[in-house]
Amino acid sequence: MAWVNAIIQGVLTGGLYALFACGLSLMFGVMKVVNLAHGDLAVVAGYIAIFVITVMNVPVLWSFLIVVPVMAVLGYALQRTLIQSSLDRGVLTTLIVTFGLSVVIENGLLQFFTANSRGIGAGLPLVSESFSLGSQIQIAYLLVVIFAVAVVVLSGLQYFLSRSKYGRLIRASADDQEAVQLSGADYRHVFGICAALAFGTVALGGIAYGMYSQLSPTTGTDTILLFAFAAVVIGGLGSLWGTLLGGIVLGVAQQIGAQINISYELLAGYLVFLAVLVLRPQGLITRGAQS
């Protein structure tokens, strides 16, 4: 029964990982940007939420209403300036710049907020309580809510991409940047919107993680970035719902690992990631040139 509990836990955590991953999938799928600072941005969002909650006295559960738009705007600005300039100079530069950004953000957080971890909404019943299914299964309310949020966000993104004008432009820009210009669209603006979506969703992920676990300056790279990437890779690039599938597989693998030995949790996840990289490389090099 402990196994069933673990698997349910793993599946639900998949929702959290999907929130991490969908923005990464968008940015990589559309703009071919590997944003190494992706995880750190989630942490930044979490810290902004903490600030908004403690200093501006916004209720915990409404903090996202401020944080998400702020991060979205930040995403648009960063894309139009830093990331677009890097893209114009090639993949190498983009990796270097986003890596630099990651280091700067982490050390900036370290400098101003110390290395202590912080949680969000620690006292709230939603965050700390769980319900039971039968005698052996314990499910945290928070995980269910996060999973539900992930489903809503993914549905919303999917709808936006398939039905709206900008969604179409985003998909078109992913196919052919130059042809989109010929249709009158400024692809830099389209990319900006894509980045805004990515930053907004990862902000939700950061807040969620702050509630589920704790945030520290290094959480972005220790945890979030690699999990996000794992979810994208396992689920298959180019598919938004794939990030949920990838997140679920990752979560379940981790929980199974934890059942075997509590300290195997992270390792199990990484090994699954590496296995997919090795066994399913087709999913990763289909777009023409190899490394």
């Binding site: 071919k32 590997v34 190494l36 400098q111 989109v180 990289l277």
Partner: protein, 360 residues
Amino acid sequence: MSLTTETSARPAAGFRVTRSQRNVVWTGAAALVVVVVLAFFPYFVYSGTTSILVQAFIVLTMASMWNLLAGYAGLVSVGQQAFVGLGAYFVLILAINGISPFAALPVAAIGSGVVALPLWWLVSRLRTGYFAIATWVLAATIMLIIERFSSIGGGTGMPLPGFSGFDPTLLTAYTYWAGLAVTVVTLLVIYLILRGRLGLVLTAIRDDEVAARSSGARVGLARMLVFLVAGAGCGAAGGVLAISQLQVQPSAVFSVQWTAEMAFATIIGGLGTIEGPIIGTAVYMVLQQTLASYNAWYLIILGLVAIAIALFARRGLWGLVDSRLNVRLFPVGFWLRLDGEANGRRSRTPRPRRPAKRGA
């Protein structure tokens, strides 16, 4: 309607191709002098200074490796800390079994190079972005695996045995010489590689990968060799790190901070040149020493400077110097000397080209 065609034929001038300018004799001699002077440091310099220099040696070695990877082979690895850690643990394991840590250094280097082989097999087919992430995951995985073994310290690490009975000043001196030796060997190896055939292939890849492939260059093989050498080099640096810290802690030796430092030093100094990492390391050390009391600031500033240079001065600080002075400390290029010209024309590090914005 007629057409004008121009045939501008100049008579073929006499020419020679040489490997270096006349001044190389002087720079070579100067380098030798520098190394000898550095070797004598422990005799007349405070141990505080030599410790700082050991740090510089470690960073310089790693930066040279990262330069080889990213600047020549086009491989952006964010997981070199895996080899730093492996090198440290090789030294630790051998020390536990009674071998002197200093003697263990070559083993650390070779061992790391050997481990690099299966790792290369795992990641070699991945495109640039995935390659970067894969190397990061590999590093994290290796750390987690090593942490499982309590006999080598588990998650908390353990002190490096084999130094009992060592006079502290002597230890500092030996550590310094070990660091100096590793650095000199590293730079020598890189110089020889780049001067030889592999270097030609690498420079071709650096300038234009597609052209390199279509000229028949064995790009895959060259990349693999670079990855192995980089693994060995970072392993050696990790060994020196272990010796200088007298202990091996997984979170310290496997920290992604090492990659950050070697990457930033290289970029600031100049990607794709041998001299670049040297300059970059110097900048890094200066920043670290002046800001040491301000904790994370030196990494913040280092990061910002690296971003700025990556965007606006892609050939780094050395690139800025190079274009003015037309000088090379390490003669790995080719000079074309036309008869009648006093100075040769040199093969230049090309200005990095912006990629064409074609659609799919």
